[in-house]
Symmetry: C2
Subunit: 233 residues, 2 copies
């Protein structure tokens, strides 16, 4: 028996690649995104009453992982990548059926050309993520006092981030086009998106893609330095 679904929409987010996407929703408030719906799901009638809810559940497909399948055990990044757990004990993206689930803040409902879009905050979505379902977050049934195994506390920002002169100059001259870019860069890099197996002494220059930009940065003396911001090729 198989179940056939059809995406109801797509997420337009600031993260064109997986690298840099926060590992859970809610970690980066400045990570704004828009969910665009496909007809007939974009019909404004489908959303009547949703504006009374501050948060929504987004069920989506981990579309970047489809070809890699799943394994019974995975190594969660928050355990340093060196302890393996069962796939159903984690939120790992490489999982049977490849569905993700995130609670995000609903900033606003907008209508463009008669079709509804949702502006959301705190998402952990790669740009182009297919959306399977939207549900209102209902606090009395979704907000629980629960024991959460290995994931008891929210990951904390751990890397101080400074802008070098060239990066700062780009931010100044592009503040209208990318109004909250500096905050977004700092919040994204401070969570340290580098692979967990890299030691603290990793001084590689990384490229972080945000919107149509490439942000070059490097960790030196336990501090992230943003070296350059440029348009992606």
């Amino acid at each position: 028996m198989t179940i056939t679904l059809e995406p109801i929409g797509i997420v337009r987010s600031c993260y064109p690649e997986k690298f840099g996407v926060p590992r859970q929703p809610g970690l980066i408030k400045s990570a704004k995104a828009v969910i665009e719906f496909f007809p007939p799901y974009s019909n404004p009638e489908c959303f009547i009453g949703l504006d009374g809810f501050s948060h929504i559940w987004v069920t989506f497909q981990f579309h970047k992982n489809l070809t890699q399948g799943w394994k019974p055990r995975v190594r969660p990044p928050r355990l340093g990548g060196n302890k393996s757990l069962g796939v159903f004990a984690t939120r790992a993206t490489f999982r049977p059926n490849g569905l993700g689930l995130s609670a995000v803040r609903l900033a606003s409902l907008i209508t463009r050309d008669g079709e509804t879009c949702l502006e959301i905050e705190g998402g952990d979505f790669v740009d182009g993520t297919p959306v399977i379902d939207i549900k209102p977050y209902v606090a009395y049934t979704d907000s629980l006092e629960a024991t959460s195994g290995f994931a008891k506390e929210s990951p904390q920002p751990r890397l101080p981030v400074i802008m070098e002169a060239e990066a700062e100059s780009f931010l100044c001259s592009h503040s209208e086009r990318y109004p909250d870019l500096k905050t977004l860069i700092i919040e994204t890099i401070s969570l340290d998106p580098r692979p967990q197996y890299k030691g603290a002494d990793d001084s590689k220059v990384y490229g972080l893609a945000l919107f149509d930009l490439n942000i070059k940065w490097q960790v030196v003396d336990h501090m992230a330095r943003v070296i350059e911001i440029s348009k992606s090729a």
Copy 2:
């Protein structure tokens, strides 16, 4: 573009029919259920570490509704069935892609013939529900202070329930086979599963199916009277 999924398991619950299933998870603690997984998802390795979590998310298919499709607007039972809202502003079962999402308490992991099952409490599943995914409930990212539109408070039990002599007699003589049946009957009926459009004077005799039993009950003078309990034909 379509997405093809395969159920990873099935819910074995006390509710063989939709009538009586609580309208949200967590409302009926005595509604215990077991999730049985299909190979290869039943491999105990897939669940290593899950015992550290008190609750899990179950993504499932509303398999009883597949032929009826969806509509842009629905009438939530908790609004008395006479106010319509957009389908994405509700948890209605008649929705695009027909997926449900419930947080339930994880009572225990058990292994039968080398295959893992999960015992859960507080579910809102019809027996035979196909399971698409299991994720750990992670409090720091799932438990939010949120505003919840028309669903601000948990539905409260509103019908007092009493057992007539014949029902009480059945409970006494079958207490080994169905140990928590009385609590389950009372908790289920007290939430008033009758159609919302029925007036308070509705004195129809209803049949509630639990396990392989049929429970006949009736509301008289704002009180539910359990008339008879018998094996289903």
